[in-house]
Symmetry: C2
Subunit: 407 residues, 2 copies
C-alpha cells in the first residue's frame, strides 16, 4: 500500500478541457482504460518524454505531431498495452488511432497525441481501442478529472492528482493535474504519465520553459528502482480560457505565481508516484547540501537512492550509516574528502567529519529510522549547491511484485 | 546457498609462502579470523584497491607501505571488523598492528600490509588482534591455504580458492589463490579480498602488468548489487622460488603461460564470489557483442546487471525481454539504433532487430530461463568490440540477508 497521506483531493475542472473516459477491455474487463482529453482551439501544449533509446511507438508519434505546425487538440491515453517493442506495426497502429479520431472529429491527425502504458511487446488490440475512441468522444465532460485519474492507472494502488488555484489581477487561475506510475517499469508494465493543465494563456515557448523548470524539481527528482520506462511522458497544457493577458516569459507578472502553482501540482504528482512505489514502506527524501556542483549533488543523492544496501537498510529501519557513506564514496565525486562529510537522518547526527557522530546512539538512530517519512541529509562541505530527490526502500513486496507474479 | 559447483579443490602450497591462521575472537568465537601471510625475501607483490573515496584505514596503510622502498614481507588479514569509518583512531590502529608484528619479527613496519573486513564504524579490538598476531606467527605453515581460505571469510557461505600448475622449461610453476566476498558490502560487513601467489620470479613492473590485465577480466567484471566496498583489495605475489629466469615483461617466454594461469585462478575466484552472491539463485553471464567501444559494451552489460527489474525477472525465471531492452535503452549509448539489437538467452533468440524474435515462444524462453546458469548475449550491431561480466539475480533472500537480520 502507498506510504503516507494519499487521499485523492477534489480535482477542479480546467476551462477549455473536456475529458472522455471509457472501459474498452484492452487488457482487463471492468476497468476504465481509455481516456481522451479534448482541448479547445488556441490551447498550447508542451511535453517532455523518456530519454530511453528504446522508446515506444506512441512516444515517437506524439513527438512528431508536437513538432509539426499543427496545434494539438486531442490526447488519447490507453492503458493495458504500452505499444512498445512492437516495431513497424506499433508505429502504424499509433498513427491509425490518430487517424481514426481525426476522421470522426474532422481534424488533422497531427492534432492528436497518443499515449500508451501497459504490457511491452504485444500489439495494440486495435478493434477494442478504436471502439473505445468512438465511445469516449460521446462523453466529453469538463468535470471528469477524477475519472481520468483512475482511467490512466495500470498497477498503481492509488489515483494521483491535485488542483491548485490562485488569484491574479482579479481572475482565478486553476491548475489541475493527474499522473500514474509505481515502478519505473512494472512487471511487463511500463511508464510514468502525467497530464497537467491550466486555464491561463501561455505562449508555447513560455510553457516549455515552465515545464522544464518544474520537471527539474519534480519528475526528474524521483526514482524507485533506477529503471527508466520506454513510455514516460509529462504534458503541460494551457487552454487560455482565463481572461488574462498571455504569459510570454519570466518578465510577465503571471509567470512566477503560475510556475509556483504548476510546480506544486507537479511535485505532488511526482511524490505520489514514490508513495505508491512498488512495495514501498518508506517515503525517503535525500538531500545533498554544500556540494560543489549540481551534478555532484545529484550523483551523491542518486547513488544513495539506488544502493540496494541502503534501500534494504531503510526497509529494515536500520540506521546503517556505513552503507550511506560507502555509497557516497563510490558516487564518482572527484577528489572527495570524506572527512568533510556530515550526515543527518531525520535530524539526528549520524556522521560527523566522515566518522560516526560522537553523540550518536543506536537508539536515536533506530527511533529516527522507524518513521515512515525519512529525510537523509548529506553535507559534502565542498560548496554551496543543494538539491534533493525522492525515493523508496526495497522490500520483500518489491521482489514479490516483480518476480513472483507476472501481470 | 551458492550456485553451481562450488566445492573447494585442493590448494597447493606456493614455495616461499607460509601462512598462520588463528582464532582470536574479534567478533565471533570459534571462528578462524586472523591470517598472516609470510613471504620469503626477494618476493615481489602488486595490489589493486577499492576506488571508493571512503576507503578504510588498512587500505590507506597498505597503499602507503607498498609505495615505500621497503619490500613487503607480511600480510595481516583480520575478519570481523573492517576498520572503516574509524578516522584517526582507525589509521593509528592499522599502523599499530604493523608495528607490533614488525617488532616481533625484527623487520621494518613498512614491510607489513594490513587488510581488514567486517563491521564498518567500530574500532578494532586491538588486544584481541595483537594476541592473534602473536599466536599466528608461531604457526607459519606452507601447506595452509585451505585454512586461510576459511580464515578470511565473513558472511560467505563457501570458501573460495583454486590452484593451477603448468610446466615451463622443465620447471613446474604453481599459482594458488583465495578470495572472499558475497555482497559488495554485507550488512555492515564489507569487502572483496583476494590473495593470489606464484613461485615464479616476476619483476615488480611485470607483476603489476599481469595483475592489471587479469583483474580486468575477473574482479573488474563482476557485480552483485553495484555497491563497491570500502576495503576491496586484490593482491598478487611472486616469490621467485622456482628455478627460472625472472619474467620481466610480455617479451619473456614465461609471460603468456603465467598470465594465463593467473587469469584462470583470478576468474575462478571472481566467479566464486558471484556464485556465493547474497541470495543468489542464478549465475548470470552478460555478454555484449558488436559494440562500438569497450565502454559502451560494459555500460550495456552493467546497466542490465544492475537493473532490479531484470534481476527480479531472472529470479522468477521469466524471460522478460522487454526489461532487458529497456535497460539497454537507458544505458547511455549515444545514438543507439535499437532496430539493430539482437538478444539471445541461453542460445534462444528472444529479440531480433529490436523486437520480439519471430521464432520466439514463451515456452522456449521459460525453458532457457529455468536453468541455474544463464547467458544473456546482446548484439548491438555497431562495431566489433565484445566484453562480458558476471552477476546474480535479486531474490527474497537478498532482502532477508540485508534487511531482516543485522550481523
Amino acid at each position: 500500500m502507498a506510504v503516507g497521506s494519499t487521499e485523492l483531493m477534489t480535482l477542479l475542472p480546467v476551462k477549455g478541457i473536456s475529458i472522455g473516459v471509457v472501459e474498452c477491455g484492452i487488457k482487463y474487463e471492468n476497468r476504465k482504460d481509455l481516456v481522451i482529453f479534448r482541448l479547445e482551439e488556441h490551447s498550447t501544449i508542451a511535453g517532455v518524454f523518456t530519454k530511453n533509446a528504446f522508446c515506444a511507438a506512441p512516444v515517437v508519434v506524439s513527438q512528431q505531431h508536437l513538432a509539426s505546425e499543427v496545434a494539438s487538440r486531442y490526447l488519447i491515453i490507453n492503458t493495458g498495452n504500452a505499444n512498445a517493442g512492437t516495431g513497424e506495426q506499433g508505429y502504424s497502429d499509433a498513427l491509425a488511432t490518430c487517424d481514426y479520431l481525426a476522421e470522426l472529429e474532422s481534424v488533422d491527425p497531427k492534432s492528436i497525441l497518443p499515449f500508451s502504458t501497459g504490457v511491452i511487446g504485444e500489439n495494440l488490440p486495435m478493434d477494442r481501442v478504436l471502439e473505445g475512441i468512438s465511445a469516449a468522444r460521446h462523453h466529453f465532460i469538463e468535470d471528469n478529472w477524477q475519472n481520468a485519474a483512475w482511467g490512466i492507472l495500470t498497477t498503481d494502488t492509488i489515483p494521483k492528482g491535485l488542483s491548485v488555484q490562485f488569484d491574479h489581477e482579479g481572475e482565478r487561475i486553476t491548475v489541475t493535474g493527474i499522473s500514474k506510475g509505481s515502478g519505473m517499469i512494472k512487471p511487463n508494465m511500463a511508464t510514468m504519465l502525467s497530464f497537467v493543465a491550466t486555464d491561463a494563456r501561455v505562449s508555447p515557448a513560455c510553457l516549455h520553459q515552465i515545464l522544464d523548470e518544474t520537471t527539474a524539481t519534480s519528475f526528474n527528482r524521483i526514482t524507485v528502482d533506477g529503471d527508466t520506462s520506454t513510455n514516460d511522458s509529462s504534458m503541460l497544457i494551457a487552454t487560455g480560457q482565463a481572461q488574462l493577458p498571455e504569459c510570454t516569459g519570466s518578465d510577465s507578472t503571471l509567470y512566477e505565481p503560475l510556475k509556483i502553482a504548476i510546480a506544486e501540482v507537479m511535485l505532488h504528482l511526482a511524490q505520489s508516484i514514490i508513495r505508491d512505489g512498488e512495495g514501498a514502506t518508506k517515503f525517503v527524501t535525500i538531500e545533498t547540501t554544500e556540494a560543489g556542483t549540481r551534478q555532484e549533488a545529484l550523483d551523491v543523492a542518486y547513488t544513495i537512492a539506488h544502493s540496494p544496501l541502503v534501500k534494504t537498510a531503510l526497509n529494515a529501519s536500520d540506521a546503517n550509516w556505513g552503507r550511506i557513506l560507502a555509497a557516497i564514496g563510490r558516487a564518482g565525486v572527484p577528489d572527495l574528502d570524506v572527512s568533510n562529510i556530515n550526515i543527518q537522518l531525520n535530524g539526528v547526527n549520524i556522521v560527523e567529519s566522515g566518522c560516526r557522530a560522537v553523540s550518536y546512539t543506536e537508539e536515536a538512530g533506530s527511533e529516527a529510522m522507524a518513521k515512515e517519512e525519512i529525510m537523509i541529509s548529506v553535507s559534502l562541505g565542498r560548496g554551496n549547491v543543494s538539491d534533493k530527490i525522492y525515493t523508496t526502500d526495497l522490500s520483500h513486496d518489491y521482489i514479490s511484485i516483480n518476480a513472483d507474479y507476472r501481470s
